[in-house]
Symmetry: C2
């Protein structure tokens, strides 16, 4: 057994959709979350900048004695995971490989769509990993830069949201995909609109679920699960004023975030 906490991090508030799965599937685990709200979004930034920021975050989380890390951010997972795993001597799992595995498994007509930030789509990380699982699959990528601000604005089911989703997904409809990866942690909050526009015959993949299940299985294999019987006390850290994070975060988690602390991440 290993009673130390699990570190989860993201460019901002979106990674809480991964925390939500972790609370449900590993309710005895303690979570230390970091959201880089002072430098969000990462999706339009270069690979070098994203990697530098991720390293600072990991150095911070290591001061909290975490036993392993989940990169709850598709942009970091797509662009920096290999370098992070090479740099730090601790188990680090991204959301992209589990998401790619699910998608390769789910498709019947071998036509899979991937939506995400500009950086995630440009990296072609999903494409490479899905085709590694099943080289017959054809992948159709589409960056959707307006989805994150729409979610942060709280316009989850507005008529303009429908139109913007329609506009971005038109090419994927034409491509006749049967599986669509929600390749950004904010996107599950738009799932109902996306499902309605794509139709019931298209399977939506939320990589957070498979990531969390796989991470917990790995911990179990090495007898690394927490066995302390006292309920875990989670901690949330951000790089900007916590106010807005608490507001959107409480909506995502349906969990009152009492303890959110601001950290000067640039010094790590």
């Amino acid at each position: 057994m290993d009673n130390r906490p699990i570190g989860v991090f993201d460019s901002g508030v979106g990674g809480l959709t991964v925390v939500k799965e972790l609370l449900q599937h590993g309710p005895n685990e303690q979570i230390i979350y970091f959201g880089d709200t002072a430098r969000v979004p990462y999706g339009s930034k270069s690979k070098e900048t994203v990697t530098k920021y991720a390293k600072q975050i990991i150095r911070f989380l290591l001061t909290k004695d975490v036993k392993g890390l989940i990169v709850a951010c598709n942009t970091i997972s797509s662009n920096s995971l290999g370098e992070l795993q090479h740099t730090f001597n601790i188990p680090i799992m991204g959301v992209v490989e589990p998401g790619a595995f699910m998608a390769a498994d789910a498709t019947h007509n071998q036509r899979v769509g991937v939506i995400g930030t500009e950086a995630t789509i440009a990296s072609q990380a999903y494409q490479k990993l899905i085709q590694k699982q099943n080289h017959q699959v054809e992948i159709f990528g589409q960056a959707c830069p307006l989805f994150v601000p729409l979610v942060e604005e709280g316009w989850l089911t507005d008529s303009v949201t429908y139109q913007i989703v329609q506009k971005y997904l038109a090419s994927l409809q034409e491509a006749k995909i049967d599986t669509l990866v929600l390749g950004c942690t904010h996107y599950p909050l738009l799932a109902s609109v996306i499902q309605e526009i794509m139709g019931d015959q298209v399977t939506l993949i939320n990589p957070a679920l498979e990531t969390v299940e796989r991470f917990l299985r790995e911990l179990q294999k090495i007898k690394g699960l927490r066995e302390n019987k006292t309920p875990p006390k989670h901690e949330f850290y951000v790089s900007d004023n916590p106010r807005k994070f608490c507001e959107i975060g409480t909506r995502i988690l349906s969990y009152p975030m009492n303890s959110v602390t601001q950290v000067n991440i640039e010094t790590y």
Copy 2:
């Protein structure tokens, strides 16, 4: 005379709308521009974070021996200008005071709207400065968080853009304003849609123009204009990979940006 360059800075590419006015009205001046593209946007960040970032940028620009600074960002001008002027011993002008002056001057019915980022509107900086000019004016503020990503996506005249502009500006139409301040440097790129929705009877105020004219008048007063007859060589610096900045920037300036250099701004 003072042949040193003028420093202009913004959270990203938007401040180039100020550079555009400076190129036109002070064509003999040399410009050093900094855009904080690694940490953009500032509009959803706290006052403390915005002020810290602005100080790092000014320390960088001071290494370039600038004679004065234009804060080409409404969020920084609204939240941090006083502290920056107090901290640094160099003339610093923001865009908010000149914009407020223009608006107070332009209104006939004493009803003025201000649109900007969440941070700019929350600061009430325009409200205070417009009412200082003319305390009879009533101000109606509206944050428009989706305008910046719409501009960066290049959707300047799409039908969803019309609908989003309509949605944000409905309350200002009801308020029967006759003057509207474009309180974010990205917004002049949406001016034609905004004008169409608000109608011809509403005067749009672009603070960049008045800011540049006022800055050049101040320089002239202290005999601080550049008199070197060789054409000025402008320099552009950013904190992330310059590729996207060059692409959007060339569109804004209609000026080929050959020399854009990446700077590690966190070390300043």
